[in-house]
């Protein structure tokens, strides 16, 4: 009883088992609310049975193939955007190139419609269009986050490298690039959620290529809410899986990476 009371006191440290209990309790509450709110003839959310049926129908329709298509698109876009962002962000300590990275970061406020119009005139096929839109969109966010990481490097770390006879390029290599690789994985992890969300919209550009976005669009057209919720759950689960895979990779590869 005392421990339950502690859960309602601000800044009270909770044990690992306590956290599991609290999390499970919330999950049960959400499931119960879902079951109750979907009872009767009029209901906002589809019933658990409808979602189950939706899931089976999606599976039969090739959910795995669509999922693979989405992941492939995501992987391609992530690779190119990360490459572009890293080059631009790593060159930001050069005064001559800094305006470029700062401007790229500010452009994230530009509506996507403005960009897609010009892209459509340049690219030759729809798949290329999908990748390009995602690359541009992701790069702007990656650059913003990477610039924040670089700006947060304490001056003492730069001075430390300089005092060890590092040339300015060596400082860049040791302090900014090598020393912060784990931060790049974390930036990727944090921004992947935006990409994953964006993916669904971008996939609707080319229906023939398939993907989770196409499945959700088709389900929406026929008002099949069971399928929509089932798909959303799949998208959420895959997103969380990617997030935790990146977190485990960071911690596994870099023993010194202790944040989060």
């Amino acid at each position: 009883m005392t421990s339950i009371r502690k859960w309602f006191r601000p800044f009270e440290p909770a044990t690992k088992s306590g956290n599991v209990i609290v999390f499970s309790a919330w999950l049960i509450i959400v499931v119960i609310y879902w079951i109750i709110s979907s009872l009767g003839t009029k209901h906002l959310f589809p019933t658990p049975a409808q979602v189950c049926e939706g899931f089976i129908s999606l599976f039969n329709e090739g959910l795995i193939v669509h999922l693979a298509s989405s992941l492939s698109l995501c992987l391609q876009a992530t690779f190119f955007s990360l490459l572009i962002s890293l080059v631009i962000a790593y060159l930001s300590p050069l005064p001559a190139l800094r305006p470029l990275s700062v401007a790229m970061s500010k452009v994230r406020y530009l509506p996507l419609t403005g960009i897609t119009f010009y892209l459509a005139m340049i690219v030759s096929n729809a798949r290329q269009m999908q990748v390009s839109v995602l690359v541009i969109f992701m790069s702007l966010y990656f650059i913003t986050s990477l610039l924040a990481v670089i700006n947060d490097i304490p001056k003492e770390e730069i001075d430390h490298a300089r005092s060890l006879k590092c040339s300015r390029w060596e400082v860049l290599w040791e302090v900014v690039i090598k020393s912060r690789i784990d931060y790049v994985i974390d930036v990727l992890r944090q921004n992947l959620s935006i990409t994953w969300m964006m993916l669904v919209t971008v996939e609707s550009i080319l229906v023939a290529a398939g993907g989770l976005g196409v499945l959700i669009k088709n389900s929406d057209k026929f008002m099949n809410h069971g399928r929509i919720v089932a798909l959303q759950l799949v998208i959420l689960a895959v997103g969380l899986l990617l997030d935790s895979a990146l977190n485990i990779t960071r911690k596994g590869l870099f023993r010194y990476s202790k944040f989060n």
Binding site: E156, E157, D159, A161, S163, L164, K178, R255
Partner: protein, 279 residues
């Protein structure tokens, strides 16, 4: 009183001023230190800088290490890469890396283990890999860091980090080492460790020179053979740029390298305290 002999100039600071915008941080800092030889033993130099907060100690240290370009003046050290001319060792202006620098936070490379950090510090040395390894292992053993050679900075204690930071600079920079408040925030045990490290550096080479700042006057009197007070010349006036207001040569006073803390040392502590309060 220990007999000693003053030899060549090892550090010459001439008319240093540093300004940021309209604000002058330090002005007209001048001092000179000579190599001190004590017969029968290897004796390096320990120079302490004392001063109240905001008197420009850290700024002066950045200039001494070549990390900051002064608005006026220069810092000269002997250039041992050149042959002496007319019995005098040619001098050179201090550049980045000539003087080791350990900051208050004992900053290290977060992505390098202790061994990797020391190897990196030796990267410009012409020695073979085996020689470098041997030298590193010898230092690690002397400084009691052998067991943690594969640990990253975030896995080390404060004292271990500090010793690593000192060792790194020692391997990279050679004879000169500047330490900004090396005793701040340390417990009694770690203070003793740093004192032992000073002793180790001092005894290992005649030209080794440690320059440090501290707010602990007794510790400065106990460790240093030369103490400079950095302060404001005119405390009440508008000129609030830091400069050297006093110099205590403990060698000349017969108080340097003393095994015990005598009443004369205590008297000097009182004098320094008054000097600090007036600056």
């Amino acid at each position: 009183m220990t007999t000693y002999e003053r030899r060549d100039t090892i550090l010459h600071v001439e008319n240093i001023s540093v300004s940021y915008g309209n604000k002058t941080i330090i002005r007209n800092v001048n001092f000179e230190e000579k190599d001190t030889a004590v017969p029968g033993k290897v004796q390096g130099q320990v120079i302490a800088f004392l001063g109240r907060s905001g008197r420009g100690k850290s700024t002066l240290f950045r200039v001494l290490t070549g990390l900051e370009k002064p608005a006026t003046g220069k810092v000269l050290i002997p250039d041992y890469s050149r042959q002496p001319a007319n019995g005098q060792q040619p001098a050179k202006v201090v550049e980045e890396g000539d003087v080791g620098f350990v900051d208050q936070k004992y900053t290290l490379f977060r992505h390098k283990t202790l061994y990797q950090s020391l190897l990196f510090a030796l990267r410009k040395s012409m020695s073979s890999t085996a020689e470098k390894h041997g030298r590193i292992m010898q230092y690690l053993s002397d400084w009691g860091l052998e067991k943690i050679k594969d640990q990253y900075p975030n896995e080390m204690s404060g004292g271990q980090r500090q010793r690593t930071a000192i060792l790194e600079q020692l391997l990279s920079s050679g004879n000169y080492m500047v330490l900004d408040e090396p005793f701040s925030g340390l417990d009694v045990g770690n203070i003793e460790n740093v004192k032992a490290a000073f002793e180790l550096i001092n005894r290992s080479h005649e030209l080794n020179t440690i320059i440090f700042s501290t707010h602990d006057i007794e510790l400065a009197v106990q460790l240093a053979d030369s103490i400079y007070i950095l302060g404001h010349k005119n405390c009440a006036g508008s000129d609030d740029a830091g400069t050297i207001v006093h110099h205590y040569d403990l060698k000349a006073l017969g108080l340097a390298w003393h095994p015990n803390f005598t009443p004369q040392h205590l008297e000097l502590v009182q004098n320094i305290r008054s000097s600090l309060l007036a600056s």
